[in-house]
């Protein structure tokens, strides 16, 4: 809240107590040399909502001016805790982490693959002890074969001279 008051030049540089609903509201304020007062104060969190009074008084307790002031009910933003107020930042940092971590992991994976390509070698060793066997089914009919033996016949050629 911003409190302004035109008091009197005689009060110039004098300390003035600011009271909200009878309670001190911050430290004493000082009246300007021109007799004007202008101070900013924060309404306490525990102030009761509703119409109340703001009073300016001398340090000896004499009231100089009184005015009414309405304390509004607290909004969500107003009641936010310091942690709550830091939530957007926290979310922002988390978002950054979410973006940065996969990129870092990808880079790490790329480096690992490159390292493996440069330093790692797989060498083949073919099987030296192959075992191949053939077993005939004892219940099967035995093998049998047909032999094909050609017997050619050159034929009989005859040649006769003359007619």
């Amino acid at each position: 809240m911003h409190i302004t008051a035109e008091i009197n030049r005689r009060f110039g540089t004098c300390p003035i107590t600011v009271l909200l609903d009878g309670s001190h509201l911050g430290p004493d304020a000082t009246v300007g040399p021109d007799g004007n007062l202008s101070v900013r104060r924060t309404v306490p969190n525990d102030a009761k909502p509703g119409i109340t009074t703001v009073r300016l008084a001398t340090t000896s307790g004499r009231t100089l001016a009184t005015t009414s002031f309405e304390v509004l009910p607290k909004t969500e933003a107003a009641v936010a805790t310091p942690v709550g107020r830091g939530l957007p930042w926290l979310l922002f940092i988390l978002l950054l982490l979410l973006l940065a971590v996969p990129a870092l992991l990808r880079e790490r994976a790329r480096r690992q693959r490159r390292w493996v390509r440069h330093h790692f070698r797989a060498e083949p060793h073919p099987s030296a002890e192959d075992v191949t066997s053939l077993d005939q089914d004892p219940e099967s009919a035995p093998s049998f074969s047909w032999r094909l033996q050609p017997h050619g016949d050159a034929g009989t050629q005859t040649l006769k001279e003359g007619n």
């Binding site: 790490r108 493996v116 060498e123 073919p126 099987s127 089914d137 219940e139």
Partner: protein, 211 residues
């Protein structure tokens, strides 16, 4: 109906992890990673970060895939080359060059076990060894083949139940079973010699002086 003829031999790696070479390596890398094989290789491997371990894992997979580049048809042919029922026909046809034999073979099982390994080195210093176990089993039925001049020259019919399983460091990585037609699996080319260390048959050679 058309029958697709494979353009490349069927290898253990392709049979277990897929027809596409690149995808097949990736599949092996994935299963190695999934089973934490590289991470189980002692303190040296454990010190690697997740990304480093994956990079190491990918290298192991690429090398191991090469070791599994084992022609399955070649395994079958190698086993047949030692089977008396076929080598007997080979001897007879070798002795009588013009003859051929059609052999209907008994139901048989071929098993093959392989133990390749991949050694991991960091700055040329041994870090660990990944030991693989590949087990392949063929159950062959209804095989009819032609043997000519000591060579297996054709496979006419026959079915094969093929099972292959791969493990690393005692953890099973992959297993697959399939039913295949033998003429598709086995590639004989110009014929498979069934006799070894046998002298070539005598060749008639005559030299006539030029008059």
């Amino acid at each position: 109906m058309t029958t697709a003829i494979p353009t490349q031999p069927l290898t253990a790696a392709l049979f277990l992890f897929g027809d596409n070479q690149e995808a097949s390596v990736d599949a092996l890398a994935h299963t190695l990673h999934e089973h934490g094989v590289v991470g189980s290789l002692g303190e040296g491997a454990k010190r690697l970060s997740g990304a480093g371990r994956k990079a190491a894992n990918d290298q192991v997979a690429a090398v191991a895939h090469g070791l599994l580049d084992l022609d399955l048809g070649g395994l079958v042919i190698a086993a047949w080359g030692k089977w008396a029922d076929l080598t007997g026909a080979a001897k007879r046809t070798f002795a009588t060059p013009d003859s051929s034999e059609i052999v209907e073979l008994a139901v048989h099982t071929i098993t093959s076990a392989h133990h390749p390994s991949v050694e991991l080195l960091v700055n040329d210093v041994h870090l660990a060894t990944v030991r693989f176990e590949l087990a392949v089993k063929f159950v062959i039925k209804g095989l009819v083949a032609t043997v000519q001049h000591g060579r297996l020259v054709a496979v006419h019919a026959g079915d094969c139940d093929l099972t292959a399983a791969l493990a690393a460091e005692g953890r099973q990585l992959a297993k697959r079973e399939a039913h295949l037609q033998l003429p598709v699996l086995v590639r004989l080319g110009s014929g498979l010699p069934l006799l070894h260390g046998v002298a070539a048959p005598p060749v008639s050679l005559s030299v006539q002086p030029h008059e």
